[in-house]
């Protein structure tokens, strides 16, 4: 769904994005927005007034939830990113334009599905 009305729309990151549900192309839940990655801010460096503004580059999930609850800072390598360019629509949920099972963020879901739930009889059938 290409939401053209969204162009030029103002959003507040905490109010409108943080902790919202992320859905894939087919409305399957993927994760929640645990944090956002911003590119273009360098700690302690003077900001040039005419420089391009910082951009949102990814939705972060996984270890970022734990650090928001308990504090601390995980190594960036442990982060699970969903690139921002995959976002198709922002509403009461964040909708992606791709299928969820192609993403790193659904790795745990796929593992449980393949190794446990999918192996129990009836696990791959629709309910009756």
């Amino acid at each position: 769904m290409n939401d053209r009305r969204a162009i030029g729309r103002a959003l507040d990151a905490h109010l409108h994005l943080l902790d919202r549900q992320v859905l894939d192309r087919d409305d399957v839940p993927v994760t929640t927005v645990d944090d956002l990655e911003l590119v273009g801010i360098e700690l302690g460096a003077a900001i040039d007034r005419d420089a391009a503004p910082p951009r949102v580059t990814a939705i972060l999930t996984g270890s970022d939830l734990a650090t928001r609850i308990f504090g601390g800072r995980p190594p960036p390598s442990r982060r699970v990113r969903i690139p921002w360019e995959l976002v198709a629509e922002i509403g009461t949920a964040i909708r992606l334009g791709v299928a969820g099972d192609t993403l790193d963020a659904t790795w745990a879901e796929r593992w449980v599905s393949d190794h446990i739930i999918g192996r129990i009889p009836g696990g791959r059938h629709d309910p009756e």
Binding site: V28, P29, I69, I120, R124, P127
Partner: protein
Amino acid sequence: MKRLFSVALGILTAIGGFVDIGDLVTNAVVGSRFGLGLAWVVLVGVVGICVFAQMSGRVAAVSGRATFEIIRERLGPRAGLANLGASFLINLLTLTAEIGGVALALQLATSVDPLLWMPVAAFGVWIAVWRARFRLLENVTGLLGLTLIVFAVALFMLAPDWNALAGQALQRGTPQDEPVATYWFFAVALFGAAMTPYEVFFFSSGAIEERWTEKDLATSRLNVLVGFPLGGLLSIAIAGCAAVVLLPASIDVTSLSQVVLPVADAGGKVALAFAIVGILAATFGAALETTLSSGYTLAQYFGWSWGKFRRPAKAARFHLSMIICLFVAVAILATGVDPIVVTEFSVVFSAVALPLTYLPILIIANDREYMGDRVNGRGMNAIGTVYLVIILIAAIAAIPLLIITGGGA
């Protein structure tokens, strides 16, 4: 008939809240000690749960977001986690009690030791959650649970002194031989049971399972207005039966067989059979409700895929967490703990879970970005605000009362 099925969600939700195994016994205990002196609490609770279940159903139908998603969204990860922890423990303790309750009901019917029935009960719940469609679950358990109306019928057949019952119901304050703290402990316990948070988790998630949209708001309202008052009525009828039969005989209710005693008194074996079927359906329904609610809350907090409308492999962590919950419940029961005592502890966790559940619902039900024109009206906000204050007071009072009275002993 179709009309009846369309309110099955509300009926099942309310049965889980008002007449699950813990409440069946609590209601009878209250009736045998206070008569109908606490019936007013049930009325207050019915109105409260109607107000907030209606809001949560409306939010789910209009925005497509279930209750724990909005709890996480408004409260953030920390307060959301506090609520998740408390709500999850309530769910797990209630689930444990229900599995035990199903086993006790089967014991009433078959005289086989409940310890043998417990794994069977847990397996039955799992099969239903694993394979049956959502509609089937709610229709079967909701309809069979209606046989609990036999308690109301029994109350009439006992031909009680209605003036005396009304006198109890309208009487101010506590009976002379009961301490004030005990009276208020049971008042808070009944209120907490009526407004127990898994009802809104289940109701709003059920609305998504049934794919309600803005067009279904009338159905949602009907579900709320039929289901919860019915649950409250059953709850009062059980207390009434106990008040008529057990209070004069000074029988202290400690087991399920004493709960059904008045029904057997009034209507003999046939009525007793109805009561047992009703209890079986109610406890089984409550077990389903709490099992699913455990999965719903976890999945919605973490953003996992969930729902019975998907095949299990497409909601893998949701199903795995429910399987683990059922194992834990059976493990707790295997220690020989009394399943009914287990639910009393959930009052403590309600103190955290109740305000943190109903506050975000009230906020989102007023948010135009979620609700468009379907935001709360002034009346709904006024009554929602009053209840938020009552909930807060009950939550603050719950733990001191539990300690002072030693669990109402």
